[in-house]
């Protein structure tokens, strides 16, 4: 029932994936580090730091994921072109 392992992408360059990993790790770890933000002051428009800081991380995460999308997408296209241009037998990662 199995398919032959025809590579769908060429070999990966680590750079974009490492960079993406770091960006996404930042977006996961920092919003979860509660001691950094469980304080009242400084307030922003009457909103305690605890609340506005976490809300602020929503657009930041969105941007980090967006940059990751761009980095990985570019590498992904390169890897696909490398197998679709030439039907080689390169090992798929």
């Amino acid at each position: 029932m199995s398919s032959p392992d025809v590579p769908t992408r060429g070999p990966a360059r680590p750079g974009p994936y490492v960079a993406t990993g770091i960006l996404l790790a930042i977006a996961i770890v920092i919003p979860l580090y509660v001691p950094a933000y469980s304080v009242d002051e400084p307030r922003l428009a009457g909103m305690p730091f605890f609340y506005w800081y976490q809300m602020m991380w929503i657009p930041i995460t969105s941007a980090l994921v967006g940059i990751s999308y761009w980095l990985v997408g570019k590498e992904d296209r390169r890897r696909r072109e490398s197998v679709r241009g030439v039907t080689g037998d390169e090992e798929e990662r």
């Binding site: 029932m1 199995s2 398919s3 032959p4 392992d5 025809v6 590579p7 769908t8 992408r9 996404l24 790790a25 977006a27 996961i28 919003p31 979860l32 580090y33 509660v34 001691p35 469980s38 304080v39 009242d40 307030r43 428009a45 009457g46 909103m47 305690p48 605890f50 609340y51 976490q54 809300m55 991380w57 929503i58 657009p59 995460t61 969105s62 941007a63 980090l64 994921v65 967006g66 990751s68 999308y69 990985v72 997408g73 992904d76 890897r79 696909r80 798929e92 990662r93």
Partner: protein
């Protein structure tokens, strides 16, 4: 205050006619859309006679449709009702954790879901359990994932009904004396929902989600700008919340809630956020949304734009504090305080009747979208992983679609009976357990996306261990006021007094057991099961051929070995 208020014969609550009329008009509009959706993007003459068409909307949703669909799917009506309710009642730890939860969710989605999309695209998988079956060749593990998915989804659907019920109660529909009168509108709403889900499949919630999301954004944006201006800024709102939450609750002798978490609730706060984020995309309805997209990158792009909903959820949570300042009084039909009525009541008290109608309609319609997707997802699990795998292995796509349609009806009426016949808290307890249980499928599904190192029986053992611990630990949490079991989702790590989300501890136990047993079973050389996937499958995009097509072109292909 609401415009025209006419007292009902029963002395419970007056019916608010203007908002009620608007809710009914929007509900009818949405029902029409639901039926029309059957004709939307219809496959070439095939109709909706396969799970790909009925259950996954033709697997062709692009970035925009997916944004609305997943937004409507993940940010459910119950969320809109329960998160501000929790803020109103007990503050940040039980309510505002939803914000970091829906922040860390998206990097996780970005990492995992495109691989799941690719392998499912190649092999035509419709459910997460399909993938587990293909990857591990284990009937028991497939069934474990499928049953967990169905059981965790059922109470979630029931809670969507609780969301609709909150709206109907505030509108004055219902009476403490006449149970049938109270539940009739709910039953009508659900029958209509069941009918258009049956006819149109996933296309119905996809189309309705657009209307629902636009309404909800409108309601929240207006409320968040208008109410603080009316009440003199956010400062006094937060001050009144701080005062209420610091007040000592006479029943427990402790403060009512948490305004800003102290050192003893840090771990509860972040484990709730992380555990919920890890669990969310293990729910079948989330995965259904992912697999309905047309390309590998659609979900990744959406991971960058979906956080807009989190921002809205954050402000909605703060409406719980606004309600504290405004003195909103959420009294249920039986005269008791019901926090879940707080947001509907706030809109009704503070806005002109017509606008309150729009906001309440947004919440009620917001319940229909996830309820439809959840019932479709549970039905697909039943069809693929119980009906096809265990009862009728040679089922045709047309039969699968038929079974799934009927299963979606059964699931919905099950949820309806759940809500009407049982106490509301039963649904909430089950939902709490469902969150713990669904996280126990994470090691099987996610590890499987990257490696075959874990042994199938070890994953099964880990799943059992996690579920047993999670269930017992949740049972032992006693509500300090009512003394009922299943009093919450936070408990101390065994042997310590660090309070954390139970699901996370269960997950850790699950992983340890799965790792230990894997080492053991590898040493014993227990058969690992047949893996029909190849490493190339996990990177395939929409332009790569599907496996069925490759097999036609390479008929002599030798069977594959595990790829790692």
């Amino acid at each position: 205050m609401s415009g025209a208020a006419v007292p009902l014969a029963a002395p419970d609550r007056p019916i608010s006619w203007v908002p009620l009329t608007i809710v009914i008009i929007l509900f009818v509009l949405v029902a029409v859309l639901g039926f029309v959706a059957a004709r939307w993007r219809r496959g070439e003459g095939t109709g909706l006679h396969s799970l790909d068409e009925w259950g996954l909307g033709g697997r062709g949703f692009g970035t925009w449709v997916t944004w609305f669909l997943l937004g409507g799917d993940l940010y459910t009506a119950y969320t809109f009702v329960a998160v501000p309710a929790a803020m109103w009642a007990t503050g940040a730890v039980s309510g505002f954790f939803a914000v970091p939860y829906t922040i860390v969710l998206y990097p996780i989605v970005f990492l995992l879901m495109s691989r799941l999309w690719s392998v499912s695209h190649r092999h035509g998988f419709v459910t997460p359990a399909d993938f587990v079956g293909g990857r591990y060749g284990s009937r028991a593990l497939t069934l474990a994932v499928a049953v967990t998915g169905i059981v965790a989804t059922m109470p979630y659907i029931a809670l969507q009904l609780v969301g609709i019920k909150a709206v109907l109660t505030v509108l004055g529909l219902g009476s403490a004396e006449n149970v049938l009168l109270t539940d009739l509108p709910l039953i009508i709403a659900f029958v209509v929902l069941a009918a258009y889900t049956y006819t149109s499949g996933l296309r119905a919630p996809a189309l309705i989600a657009v209307v629902k999301d636009l309404l909800i954004y409108l309601a929240v944006i207006v409320a968040v700008i208008y109410l603080p201006i009316k009440f003199g800024g956010w400062g006094p709102i937060f001050d009144s919340a701080e005062a209420k939450l610091a007040a000592v609750n006479p029943a427990t002798g402790k403060p009512t809630g948490v305004f800003i978490p102290g050192a003893n609730s840090y771990s509860a706060y972040w484990t709730l956020a992380l555990g919920s984020a890890l669990a969310l995309f293990m729910y079948p309805h989330s995965i259904t949304g992912v697999l309905a997209t047309k390309s590998r990158n659609t979900i990744r792009k959406n991971a960058a734009v979906l956080p807009l909903y989190s921002l809205m959820l954050g402000f909605l949570a703060l409406l719980g504090y606004v309600a504290i300042f405004a003195g909103t009084n959420p009294v249920d039909l039986n005269g008791a305080v019901n926090p879940q009525l707080v947001v509907p009541q706030l809109f009704l008290d503070q806005f002109p009747a017509w606008f309150a109608g729009i906001a309440l309609a947004a919440i009620a319609i917001g319940a229909l979208v996830p309820a439809a997707i959840m019932s479709i997802a549970a039905a697909n699990l039943f069809t693929r992983n119980i009906y096809r795998d265990l009862i009728k292995p040679d089922a045709t796509p047309r039969q699968e679609a038929k079974v799934s349609k009927i299963a979606s009806l059964v699931v919905k009426f099950g949820a309806l009976i759940f809500v009407i016949a049982m106490d509301q808290s039963a649904a909430i307890n089950m939902q709490l357990l469902g969150g713990i249980w669904i996280l126990q499928t994470f090691p099987t599904i996610v590890a499987g996306l990257y490696t075959r190192w874990f042994h199938r029986w070890a994953l099964f053992g880990g799943w059992i261990a996690g579920i047993i611990y999670g269930t017992i630990a949740a049972y032992n949490v006693v509500n300090p006021v009512t003394k009922a079991y299943f009093g919450g989702s936070i408990a101390a790590i065994p042997g310590t007094d660090i309070q954390v989300y139970i699901a996370v501890v269960a997950f850790a136990i699950n992983l340890v057991v799965a790792t230990g047993l894997s080492l053991l079973f590898h040493a014993m050389k227990l058969p690992g099961g047949n893996d029909i996937t190849r490493s190339s499958d996990y990177g395939a995009d929409e332009n790569d051929p599907k496996v069925a097509q490759i097999e036609r072109e390479h008929p002599l292909a030798e069977p594959g070995a595990p790829t790692f």
